[in-house]
């Protein structure tokens, strides 16, 4: 217990040190340094990823059992870092164009990143809460980054208020669990309830509160209501970040809690997540139909995708968990690609986000239109693109564990969801062309778009690579 091995924390420590260093540079240099800092952050995050990869991923909990670096945490960290790099790269040009390129941006993102890295490594309710709040506070600030915009401020305050509420639930849940298990350490909590004939109702109530708090973070229905508003109000680059990364971290936390810590109470949390999954699938697919704003649409799209991911979690099998990780990785790629396009939509120097603005894109900018079409096909799950396999493995895991109804609901939801994804394709290819976009697409966006489309298309040639990665990652949760 008194193991104070600091080595597994080196990537996080490195990140924190660099983040503070960047902050100093920013303070001294002012906003001129933003672009450089963003680049430097990307490089730094890449180094962190390399560092993470070079550690042995099979370690016992350290820091008084506050922190663990196991297969699962390591893999999740890599996905998080990937998402961070992508969203930072996407931001640079946008911030310049919108004239909000302040040096705090990359710094805050780095701190949010540290929070997420710690979240997936947390093995104690305390470290969990600390990490979660570090992340959340950073996100609140980012949402308000467009200081002059009323909408951005509104979005941020909504997010903050509701986020605080969810934190309250989370804390209340933790206190109940502490009350019934006598500990905040994950391993101890698990032992205290394992082997019990009945899980104490108080413990279950605590678990409900805890999961509700986390459901807010992954914007699962009905704790999703902030999502469309915040996505719409926040600067688009921040929206991209919101859509890509925090979901991964929160889902990682949820997976560790459900599959490992609350494993003896599987029957109970399954019921909660079952409900959340179904509600997310339905709302995510149906509500998106009525949207005209691309960012709102992506908000519902992410809600719907969380529904699929929750299916994989509910089935509580290694296959299901592997499928979750797998889906998350594919989701990161697809979302990054879509946002690279959304960020490029500018007309006469102003950002546009309505679906109608895409009209006739196939004539004005065929490459962009085809890339978008491929990503949309992938999101709606059309083979042989990557998105199809994400759904396929989720459904297969559900069928294996005999969650037939869940799989059917998921299938039907994907049919409905196909409507709004394909509507975008239709608008791009068959509608009367709208005015052209400003033809600016910087290197970073091109790179992100290229990599994500290449991944989506090329995935079919080496599917086992990603699949093996996902399966080995979740192996440490099912010991």
């Amino acid at each position: 217990m008194n193991d104070f091995d600091i080595v597994p924390l080196v990537p996080e420590i490195f990140m924190a040190m660099m983040g503070m260093g960047f902050l100093l540079v920013g303070v001294l240099q002012g906003n001129r340094a933003t672009s450089v800092l963003i680049w430097a952050s990307c490089v730094m995050l890449f180094i962190t990823a390399v560092l993470t990869m070079n550690f042995d991923w099979d370690r016992p909990p350290t820091m008084n059992a506050m922190f663990i670096l196991d297969e699962f945490a390591g893999s999740m960290k890599l996905i998080i870092l990937l998402g961070l790099i992508a969203s930072l790269a996407l931001s640079n040009e946008y911030l310049q164009q919108e004239r909000i390129a302040r040096f705090e941006y990359p710094v805050i993102m780095i701190f949010a990143g540290i929070g997420m890295m710690l979240m997936v490594s947390a093995t104690n309710m305390l470290s969990l809460y600390m990490a979660l709040e570090l992340q959340s506070l950073s996100l609140y600030v980012l949402a308000a980054f467009y200081r002059n915009s009323l909408k951005s401020a509104e979005a941020a305050s909504k997010y903050f208020i509701l986020g605080a509420l969810s934190s309250g639930m989370l804390l209340f849940g933790i206190s109940l669990i502490y009350g019934y298990s006598g500990s905040i350490d994950f391993a101890t909590i698990k032992t205290s309830i394992s082997g019990l004939e009945q899980i104490p109702p108080g413990f279950i109530v605590g678990m409900v509160f805890l999961l509700a708090g986390l459901a807010f973070k992954i914007s699962a229905v009905p704790f999703h209501m902030w999502t469309p508003d915040v996505y719409q109000g926040a600067p688009s680059s921040v929206t991209a970040f919101f859509a890509i990364v925090p979901k991964v971290a929160a889902m990682g936390l949820l997976m560790r809690l459900c599959l490992d810590v609350f494993e003896p109470a599987t029957e109970q949390w399954q019921q909660i997540l079952y409900f959340l999954a179904v509600a997310s699938l339905i709302v995510g697919s149906f509500a998106a139909i009525a949207q005209d704003n691309l960012k709102r649409l992506m908000a519902y799209s992410s809600i719907g995708n969380m529904g699929y991911i929750l299916i994989g979690l509910v089935v509580a099998s290694p296959e299901g968990a592997g499928a979750v990780l797998y889906f998350l990785l594919i989701y990161v790629f697809m979302t990054a690609g879509v946002f690279a396009i959304i960020l490029t939509m500018r007309r006469d120097g102003l950002a546009t986000v309505s679906i109608g603005d895409l009209a006739g894109l196939s004539q004005n900018n065929p490459i962009l239109a085809y890339a978008m079409a491929i990503l949309m096909f992938s999101l709606s799950g059309i083979p042989p693109l990557a998105g199809f396999f994400g759904k396929l493995f989720i459904f297969r895991a559900a069928i294996e564990q005999e969650f037939y109804i869940l799989a059917v609901i998921g299938l039907l939801a994907s049919v409905v969801a196909a409507y709004y994804y394909l509507r975008i394709v239709k608008v791009m290819f068959f509608d009367e062309p709208a005015d052209k976009f400003d033809n600016i697409m910087g290197f970073e966006r091109r790179a992100v778009l290229l990599i994500s489309t290449a991944f989506v298309i090329g995935y079919i040639f080496a599917p086992s690579l990603v699949f093996d990665f996902a399966m080995s990652a979740v192996s440490s949760l099912f010991l």
């Binding site: 509420l165 009905p222 704790f223 209501m225 139909i289």
Partner: protein
């Protein structure tokens, strides 16, 4: 080499199809023509490689291009199978295609979308090459459908013409019937052989002779079922009687298309298919009989119709159908080599005739009705001469290509010595007479007599440019010499030891008894080699060395061999008939031009039968088309509009819209409302667990502690 021969047209199609606008019409023509010429040269090189290696067994190998499907026992790859059969087909396809490509530059010079046309031609060539070089049935099917698509696109190339569009659709729909049979055949093959790769299927089909397939309770001979299904596909694609109605209508396409697709290559795909599956057909005598009957009837019926038509292209189209009939009954009597021989010579002279007809049409300002032609032979002498060569070859005059191939086909049919073989022979002889008749009728009506066209058209008549006559001359060379040169290889046995050969067959029969064991060629070859080791050099140019194992014939079915020993009158009959036909045409259309009218009036019913194409179109229209429309309308109105649309698109989609609207009302934008929803949900979930929990809980000590913390929630449970 073989990769270049197959994929050059694909590359040309992609370049011309995608960047057609960028490189312009000239660029498209250049790219596609170059690619196809290169492909043609490659195939010719392959052919000579093979000829050079006859002694070592020819050229037999398979180049795997890419793994395609690998699922359990089902393995398929994209590959190029090289053997004599595929090399011959590649040569025919690529040479004719190259001629047609170049010809099209001149013929389509007034057309606004030349680039598209050239791209389609290349696409067709590629699909056809995929078909003939495949080493499995799936790739064959891919090529089969690919040529179908290209044919559809090219028939309807002038898509502003209503008749062209409906002809294209007709071709597509009618072919669908045949393709359905082919698809079933492939499935049946997989069911019986557990593989669709040729190497596995043909390995030893004799083992499967006793297999049966059970269909609705009846057991059928498996190989016969497979062969008949495959033949069904061939009937559709090769326009045999029953599924032939699309071919004459397909003449709506530009003439080069008719020459390439509807005379020389695509329509012969059925012949190729049956020849390729000769190892299977050999063990399915019933299927062979069906093939013979179909072929013979087609040859006869098509010839009768051809005599009465007035559209120059339709006459040639029916002639094509008739000649395809010849090929099929040759296949039916196991004379695969003869069928392939006729396929090759026919490709040359029929393409030549079509291109000549195109040249005439071009000269006559797009006039196709022979009643409006006449007397133009002096104005277009080159075309006229070339048409003569084509006609002589078609009618089978000595030393022209058709003479060798048609004669061997007819002789083989006679030599088969079965009732259907005899029937095929006599129908073929009748068709040969009619062939000569309608061919010269065409020549006389088009080129001789009084000009019947208007003054304006006649003043316009001009010889075609070199891009058109050049390819025709190449084909004419083929039409003259291909018969004589390739006779030995395709069907010849080495004459000077024909007796020994017969003995060899007998001995091999003795060796293998009646057990249907080794196919002839293998055994023959070994025996022949042993017996004539010293004479090897001289005897290489024979069919057994030429075909190797590409065509398999059982010894007792070897009609080509027997055909060399038929009576004199059998051999000379076709030629006699051809001469009679020409004389008759001369009499009717040059000497006494008013006879035809009298004949028509006195034999009104028969003429009508022929002229209206035996009423096939009318019968199909009444039986299938009208009823299909009626049925379609029923499904459309009551099935689709009133049931599916109401529930599906209009019902569910409408509902989705309403749900979406309802859900977005929830999204009010007020924080307190969002918070309220969250809390309500939380309370609902907690209540769910509390109500659902085992009642014994509430009496336990655990419950005591719980109530202490969470207040009144469990109390509700108590009341429950």
């Amino acid at each position: 080499m073989e990769l270049l021969a197959v994929f050059a047209p694909l590359i040309a199609f992609l370049v011309a199809g995608i960047w057609g606008k960028a490189i312009g019409d000239k660029g498209c023509q250049l790219v596609t023509c170059t690619a196809v010429v290169v492909a043609a040269l490659c195939s010719i090189t392959l052919f000579f490689d093979m000829i050079g290696n006859l002694e070592e067994g020819g050229l037999v190998y398979t180049t795997e291009v890419m793994r395609w499907v690998s699922s359990g026992d089902f393995n398929v790859s994209w590959s190029i199978k090289i053997d004599t059969l595929s090399i011959v087909m590649m040569c025919v396809v690529n040479i004719v295609s190259a001629c047609v490509h170049i010809y099209s530059i001149g013929y389509m010079s007034h057309d606004p979308s030349k680039g598209r046309f050239m791209a389609y031609l290349s696409l067709f060539t590629f699909a056809m090459l995929m078909l003939v070089t495949s080493d499995n049935m799936l790739q064959l099917f891919f090529g089969w459908e690919g040529v179908g698509v290209a044919s559809y696109l090219l028939i309807g190339f002038w898509n502003h013409k209503h008749s062209a569009n409906s002809a294209a659709q007709k071709a597509f729909v009618v072919n669908r019937v045949g393709d359905f049979g082919l698809a079933l055949g492939i499935m049946a093959t997989f069911y019986v052989f557990g593989s669709i790769e040729f190497s596995t299927i043909f390995d030893n089909p004799a083992l499967y002779v006793d297999k049966t397939i059970s269909i609705i309770g009846y057991d059928f001979h498996a190989l016969t079922v497979i062969c008949l299904l495959l033949f069904m596909g061939a009937v559709g694609k090769s326009a045999q009687l029953g599924l032939h109605t699309w071919l004459p209508d397909a003449m709506e396409g530009p003439t080069p298309v008719s020459a390439l697709i509807h005379a020389a290559t695509m329509v012969t795909a059925g012949v190729f298919l049956v020849a390729r599956f000769s190892p299977l057909f050999e063990y399915a005598p019933t299927a062979l009989m069906v093939v013979t009957i179909f072929g013979a009837l087609t040859a006869f019926v098509a010839a009768t119709i051809g005599m009465t038509q007035f559209d120059i292209k339709r006459v040639i189209a029916y002639s094509t159908m008739s000649q395809l009939g010849y090929m099929f009954f040759a296949l039916g009597v196991s004379a695969y080599g003869a069928a392939m021989f006729h396929l090759m010579t026919h490709a040359f002279f029929k393409a030549l005739l079509f291109l000549g007809a195109g040249s005439v049409i071009h000269a006559m300002s797009d006039e196709q009705d022979m009643r409006n032609m006449g007397g133009i032979w002096k104005k277009i002498p080159v075309t006229y001469a070339l048409m003569w060569i084509g006609s002589l070859a078609l009618a089978g005059f000595p030393f022209f290509a058709g003479y060798y191939s048609k004669d061997i086909v007819l002789e083989a049919a006679w030599a088969d010595q079965t009732w259907f073989g005899n029937m095929a022979y006599w129908l073929g002889i009748a068709a040969a007479f009619m062939t000569a008749f309608y061919t010269w009728r065409l020549l006389f009506m088009t080129f001789h007599g009084e000009p019947r066209a208007s003054q304006k058209v006649m003043s316009h008549v001009h010889e075609s440019p070199a891009t058109m006559t050049g390819p025709m001359i190449v084909l004419a060379v083929g039409a003259i010499f291909s018969g004589y040169v390739f006779y030995g290889g395709f069907v010849g046995s080495d004459g000077h030891h024909g007796q020994d050969h017969a003995k060899a067959i007998i001995s091999s029969l003795d060796d293998h008894g009646g057990k249907h064991g080794e196919p002839t060629h293998k055994s023959e070859k070994s025996v022949a080699k042993k017996a004539h080791g010293e004479e090897r050099g001289a005897s290489l140019w024979t069919r057994e060395y030429f075909w190797q194992d590409a065509l398999i014939v059982l010894p007792e079915n070897d009609t080509v061999e027997a055909a060399h020993n038929v009576p004199f009158w059998v051999k000379k009959m076709p030629f006699l008939m051809a001469v009679l036909g020409v004389l008759m045409a001369y009499l009717l259309y040059i000497r006494v031009p008013d006879i035809p009218a009298k004949v028509v009036t006195s034999f009104k019913p028969i003429h009508n039968l022929f002229f209206r194409k035996w009423y096939f179109d009318e019968i199909y229209d009444t039986i299938f088309v009208k009823n299909a429309f009626r049925l379609g309308r029923i499904f459309w109105i009551s099935g689709d509009q009133n049931t599916i649309d109401r529930i599906g698109p209009n019902g569910i989609a409408g509902l989705s819209g309403r749900i979406a609207g309802g859900l977005s009302k929830f999204q009010s934008g007020y924080v307190y409302q969002y918070a309220f929803v969250m809390m309500i949900t939380l309370i609902a979930i907690v209540s769910w667990f509390v109500f659902k929990a085992d009642p014994s809980f509430y009496n336990s000590t655990t419950f005591e502690t719980l109530s202490g913390i969470t207040g009144n929630i469990p109390v509700k449970g108590m009341e429950e």
